[in-house]
Amino acid sequence: MKQHTLCTAVCLLALSACAKEDATLRPGDNDHRTLQEALLTAEPGAVIELAAGRFELDATLSLDVEGVTVRGQGMDETILDFSSQAPGTGGEGLLATADDFTVEDLAVENTRGDGIKVEGTTGAAFRSVRVEWTNGPDTNNGAYGLYPVQVTNVLIEDSRVRGASDAGIYVGQSANVVVRRNEVWENVAGIEIENTTGADVYGNRAHGNTGGLLVFSLPELPVKDGRDARVYDNDITDNNLPNFGKEGAIVSTIPAGSGIIVMASDNVELFENRIHHNQNSNLAVISYLSTGRTYNDPGYDPYTEGVYIHDNEFVGGGEGPNGDFADAFVALAGGAFPDIVWDGVSNPDKLVEGEVPADLRLYIENNGDADFVNLDLGSVFTGGEPKVSTDLAAHQGSLPAVPQPVDLGAATGGAP
């Protein structure tokens, strides 16, 4: 508008007078206003520094300025407490919708919905952040702790999430993702990589969740067909917590005692993980069809194709099979679940002379004395009798083309 053009020069002067050092924000009388105002008026690239202490927040914080870093004094020092979050103020603790967002060294506690959500951007880094529902597992806790969705270039490191009623760390419909050195416990799902292309997930500790680590591809979403995940050097232990998710969400169907589940994602490499004492199954590879859930999405590929499981350490686990697959297994074979469970479902349209092509197969090698079962549910789906098999010989070898390491570039610290 004309008056703004006229005033530009003068206003710029005024603005420069306004430009100030990145002052540290402290808890006070109206923490939401203090923080939200800083987020609204930040210059691109600004660092918003939060002092130690507890910020009491009655409304969602939102950020829409590029390149901003929100930094506290440590995940046990600077706490954003959303216990008093009011209706109509947003569905999460902190929502960022601008590129190159970094949040680090702070905690987000007791959001009514999700913890920290980043939506539809390029460049998001979560570093040394804690998201916690301090009452522990509860159906009424928020769904996700750290929640980038439709983001390209994601780094989540050295963070901790507890109590999420869906997934502690949830990366959805994203690309180029590194999730490393995090600890997730007492969530329904510890870490979920969903409909995502290119993910390196390593050095994490997932324990005491219902399910430790999920690599999923789900239907009826705008970004489909996750692929190219490398899951390595993780500790996936004792994920035996009773499922406390609300029915309806996919994770509410996950049997307690699930270590790692790969479902409908393609080209996944799992290696050098320590997968211990997950009492339903330590590692399951299944197609979406085996969930029995219906869908209406012609563009969706429900098959899990190209999985390479090698050099993992399995200890215990499988001693309390429960859930649909377990029922099928117990009915068919009985006893404890082997370390590696495959539903045995392949895309019949892709068979070449009755064989699954080399790049779409399940490969299993060098996993110590880990045992295995192929439930052959594919035969059940076509009305036949399943030929349950524990023979690993058919799965020797390695993926012709393993996923490449994720390169995040410089924007998020050049990880890995």
């Binding site: 008056q3 206003r33 008026t41 209706p87 919905g113 159906t139 789900l218 979403l221 029915e247 309806g248």
Partner: protein, 370 residues
């Protein structure tokens, strides 16, 4: 049509910017907002007592057939178009679907107010906030203004905030409520309907195609179709006669459309600004715009994605014939921040609209294969 020359002189603005810098009172006037007037009156949209909302010359009031629910607040909408080089108004361009294309310089204003008593809604109106959408060279900007206690003016309040309000509802019951003014980012959350640009939502052909009672300069009143008036006064270019333009039903007026038509229109204006293929709700795969017939995208037998506790232990967005098994209804009936939909702009349950959506689901054909 003469346009009142727009608000502030450069000096006044600069002073405002400096004041905002020092104070930050109510979250006004810092950073990218420093350039905007701290007072609503400075925009010159109204004459006389500001709270009376008497439009200045060149400012047009308008209404919608079916509007967004905002905790039962009454809304008073105005638009001012900029002048062209010849001093004439620069018209908006007609679009059959979606908002009209308004020229740079357009200001759209919406005041939220409660009457003291909804049984006499025209009396004792108390404005709470006025939201502006200002069309700048680089796009639309949303600005919330909160009215002062004396109701003499409203102050720019980019962080929004809670307001304690009270009224007597249509049944005669006293309601006490904490009304939430959204912050300037939240303007974008709803108005960034295509995922990229902030855009107006209400002023579109189907919503404006209705009569409105205009008060003329001489005090006389005239009931006129808004599209016809905008055509007549040069506010709108390229529009067909109103009879040939689409017309949205009024959600709570049965004579204006079937239950399906009214429910789809209600969902379109209340949900589809996020839940379309490009808006911020796109990640859920739910598309609540009117006019398409893809039942899965409408939520029918569609599993939730990121609803978390918002499922309410229900399996699908919409189960035909079964509103009590439909997540859509569960979330409309909630005021829990982690469950409720919409997430922003309401803290109360829209009881009457829930009834409409329940009826819509109840009457919906089950899927043939079920």
């Amino acid at each position: 049509m003469a346009l009142r020359s727009a608000p502030p002189a450069a000096l006044a603005l600069a002073a405002l910017a400096l004041a905002g810098c020092a104070a930050g009172e109510g979250g006004s006037g810092q950073g990218p907002f420093a350039r905007y007037p701290a007072k609503l009156s400075t925009w010159g949209l109204f004459t006389g007592e500001l709270a009376s909302h008497i439009p200045a010359a060149g400012v047009e009031p308008y209404g919608l057939n079916t509007a967004l629910f905002s905790d039962y607040a009454l809304k008073f909408r105005f638009v001012r178009l900029p002048e062209g080089p010849g001093g004439d108004v620069r018209p908006a361009l007609y679009r059959e679907e979606g908002p009209f294309e308004f020229p740079v310089g357009t200001v759209i204003s919406k005041t939220f107010a409660y009457p003291a008593d909804f049984r006499v809604p025209e009396e004792g109106l108390q404005p709470l906030e006025t939201r502006l959408l200002v069309h700048e060279e680089d796009g639309w900007v949303g600005l919330p203004y909160i009215w002062n206690a004396e109701l003499t003016d409203a102050d720019l309040a980019i962080v929004g905030g809670p307001l304690e309000v009270s009224w007597i509802d249509a049944e005669g019951a006293r309601i006490e409520h904490t009304y939430r003014v959204p912050n300037a980012n939240q303007c974008k959350t709803c108005h960034r309907t295509d995922g990229e640009r902030v855009l107006p939502i209400g002023p579109q052909a189907a919503q404006l195609n209705r009569n409105f009672v205009f008060t003329e300069a001489d005090g006389s009143t005239l009931s006129e179709n808004q599209l016809e008036r905008w055509r007549r006064t040069g506010f709108l270019e390229g529009a067909p006669p109103a009879a040939e333009a689409p017309r949205a039903p009024v959600w709570n007026a049965g004579r204006t459309g079937s239950v399906d038509e009214r429910a789809r229109t209600w969902l379109d204006i209340n949900c589809a600004h996020c839940h379309n293929l490009k808006g911020s709700g796109r990640t859920s795969g739910l598309d609540l715009r009117k006019g398409h017939r893809n039942r899965t995208r409408l939520g029918v037998y569609k599993h939730p994605v990121a609803a978390g506790q918002g499922t309410g232990d229900r399996l699908y967005g919409v189960v035909p014939g079964k509103p009590d098994e439909s997540i859509l209804v569960y979330r409309m009936e909630s005021t829990h921040p982690g469950i409720m939909m919409p997430e922003l702009g309401r803290g109360l349950v829209d009881v009457e609209s829930v009834a409409l959506i329940r009826q819509w689901i109840l009457e919906m054909e089950p899927r043939p294969e079920a």
